[in-house]
């Protein structure tokens, strides 16, 4: 595990595709609707050309507002937005040349599939023959050849969203903005369309900004994720970075399961104490700035937690805590033990393989992990 202290400044770059995408730069962007708190609060984010960037976060955290600010559907309260270095803060949406995909598809019900897809080309005064060629091409890309004359209401949800996708990319926009485009689809269809969106991103090579509240979807699709919380960006990084190196408790809890031990106002020296246990700290696992001591927490992923019958079975140098089995969940290839840890019985979880023997509710164990596997974050 490597440390990347400043994940916001660096991009891992586009996965593949032509390097023809557009850079989107948000500089200290704020949107205030006059509610208790701004919907988007002083956000700075640079989306690299050709990058698949996901805005992830709970409902109401400001993702849609941010996307609408980029699209130009909302006006900025403060800050600026630039496309490829050109400030577009005052450019109306129809002149920003961005493709947009909505959760409800937003297909024009009075137009056929082909007319829907041709719409942005007509608005750009593209010639008839050119329109026919491009529409056929893009319908093939989304695997809807032959449905030209259908009306949207004759298509399934997944097909409608593919028409919307075709319509959003046919005019080769600067970037594609997707607001929970798969939210209305069932699980299987969603996963199929995820694959398709990734493929199209590779083939088209333009910048994608994807909004979702589904962390699994974000992990699957993204080059980088910007994690939103209460109108602010909590952390930006690759899916691996966010999962393995969370900087805050919010990030650790939002992406995947974690065991969280809140330390309170502990001094982060070589050791920390929790519930009578003394744990070793690996300096590389401290996410917060070294000077910050206030309120931190130890985070350990379930797959990094091992169980032993007693203290004697714990390897030297590992951090350990007393635990009681509260429940056993059978997950197929592995089982999850739900634990009560420490004297206070803090809920925790770990994964065990069938080879590790049987566990029953009420078993007293010792849970342990290596100091390198834990993460110390701001709580």
């Amino acid at each position: 595990m490597t440390m990347t202290p400043d994940t916001t400044a660096k991009a891992t770059g586009p996965s593949t595709g032509t390097p023809s995408g557009t850079e989107i730069r948000l500089d200290r962007v704020t949107k205030d609707y006059g509610l208790a708190a701004p919907a988007v609060d002083d956000i700075s984010l640079t989306i690299e050309p050709g990058e698949f960037m996901t805005l992830l976060g709970p409902s109401g955290s400001g993702k849609t507002t941010t996307l609408n600010l980029i699209a130009g559907f909302e006006t900025l309260t403060a800050g600026s937005i630039a496309l490829n270095g050109t400030d577009v803060s005052d450019v109306p949406p129809h002149r920003r040349n961005l493709g947009m995909l909505f959760q409800n598809y937003a297909l024009f019900p009075h137009l056929t599939v082909a007319q829907n897809v041709a719409y942005p080309l007509r608005e750009r005064k593209v010639g008839k023959r050119e329109i026919a060629r491009k529409v056929a091409e893009v319908l093939e890309l989304v695997q809807l050849t032959g449905r030209d004359d259908n009306h949207p209401s004759q298509l399934s949800g997944g097909q409608q969203q593919r028409v919307a996708l075709a319509r959003a990319i046919v005019f080769e926009p600067e970037a594609l903005l997707l607001d929970e485009p798969l939210g209305a689809l069932d699980r299987n269809l969603r996963s199929a369309l995820q694959t398709e969106i990734r493929r199209i991103h590779r083939e088209v090579g333009s910048t994608f900004v994807f909004v979702t509240h589904d962390q699994e979807e974000a992990m699957n699709l993204s080059d980088r994720i910007a994690l939103f919380n209460n109108g602010r960006i909590e952390q930006v990084g690759t899916p691996q970075q966010l999962y393995a190196e969370p900087e805050t408790l919010f990030t650790a809890k939002f992406l995947g399961d974690s065991n969280v031990f809140e330390l309170g106002e502990a001094a982060l020296d070589a050791n920390v104490a929790w519930d009578g246990e003394s744990w070793v700290i690996d300096p590389a696992t401290v996410a917060a700035h070294p000077g910050v001591r206030a309120s931190s927490a130890v985070v350990v992923r379930p797959e990094d937690v091992e169980v032993a019958g007693g203290r004697d079975d714990v390897p030297a140098g590992a951090n350990a805590v007393r635990a009681t089995v509260r429940d056993v969940e059978y997950m197929g290839s592995y089982r999850t033990l739900l634990l009560a840890m420490g004297e206070r019985g803090l809920p925790g979880r770990t994964r065990v393989s069938p080879l590790q023997g049987e566990y029953a509710i009420g078993d007293d164990l010792v849970a342990w992990w290596r100091p390198q596997a834990q993460r110390i974050v701001a709580a």
Binding site: A71, G72, F73, P92, P93, H94, N97, L98, G99, M100, F102, N104, Y105, A106, F108, P109, H110, Y119, P120, E123, R124, H151, P152, S153, G157, Q160, R167, A168, F171
Partner: protein, 281 residues
């Protein structure tokens, strides 16, 4: 749209309505038709007496003017209704329905006072330099008063149609490169066409049959079809000619409804239109 066949057992539910329609519509209609063709030359007289065709044409022009005026006023009004708070919407609805709840006579006498020579409207025109505008006793005055009464028939179907249009489609259009004006004409307007057609048909067909308003506000020299009909039935007792005239008006109306149906979808009695509806919104 639904492919469900109506069960045979539910057909008896239609019997009362069908019986009523047969009694008050089909039988009198057949009677009128038979009378109109039993006397020789009624229809050729209509075309050649020099009065009927003039009045019929004037009626159609008046009804068309009322329809266009109601659409021009009603469309923005209905649009506004879809955009304001429920409270304000209620108030707007009441305003448009007030002439509906007022007695025909009270309403028309009110218009006489407003439109008469030296009345407020004429004074207003005079104030802006148009000294010789005559409204009371003219087709213009009749048109104004009729438009007011017809407004709810335009506003209500429009309101229901415009309110059902997904406004996110406008955002989508903007994102795809349409200016606000283009987004309106290419997306919003076509989607509102069903409501427009419903309103147009209701207002136009109802306007063809106005009697009290032109009788009170208009001039006897500029009568409309309903007055002509009344004259032929109550004064001249020429039921064959009156029946023929009625038949002509009916045919004009049916032709219009058929045309509008092809243009804008199926019109139901209350004017709510089911034109290829968007499935998801």
């Amino acid at each position: 749209m639904s492919s469900n066949k109506i069960k045979w057992s539910s057909w008896p539910l239609l019997v009362p309505a069908l019986a009523l329609l047969a009694g008050i519509l089909l039988v009198p209609l057949a009677d009128t038709f038979i009378r109109s063709v039993s006397a020789p030359g009624t229809y050729t007289n209509l075309l050649t007496d020099g009065v009927t065709m003039t009045v019929l044409w004037r009626t159609v022009v008046t009804a068309a003017t009322v329809t266009v005026a109601a659409l021009l006023i009603g469309y923005p009004y209905a649009y506004l209704m879809t955009r304001v708070s429920p409270r304000a919407r209620g108030i707007l609805l009441v305003i448009v329905l007030i002439p509906f709840w007022t007695s025909v006579m009270a309403r028309n006498f009110a218009w006489i006072i407003i439109l008469q020579d030296g009345g407020p409207v004429q004074s207003l025109f005079a104030f802006f330099g148009a000294e010789d505008v005559v409204l009371y006793g003219s087709t213009a005055g009749v048109t104004i008063a009729m438009t007011q009464v017809m407004l709810p028939f335009m506003v209500l179907p429009l309101f229901s149609t415009l309110g059902g249009i997904d406004r996110r489609l406008l955002l989508a259009a903007r994102g795809l490169g349409s200016s606000p004006t283009a987004a309106f004409w290419k997306v919003f307007w076509p989607l509102s066409r069903g409501g427009v057609m419903a309103g147009v048909i209701l207002v136009f067909t109802l306007s063809l049959g106005f009697y009290v308003t032109p009788a009170l506000l208009g001039s006897p020299q500029e009568s409309l079809v309903a007055q002509l009909l009344a004259q032929r039935t109550t004064l001249l007792l020429d039921f064959a000619a009156a029946g023929a005239l009625g038949m002509v008006v009916l045919v004009v109306t049916l032709v219009l409804v058929a045309w509008a149906n092809r243009m804008g979808g199926t019109v139901s009695a209350i004017g709510v239109v089911a034109a290829s509806p968007p499935k998801d919104r």
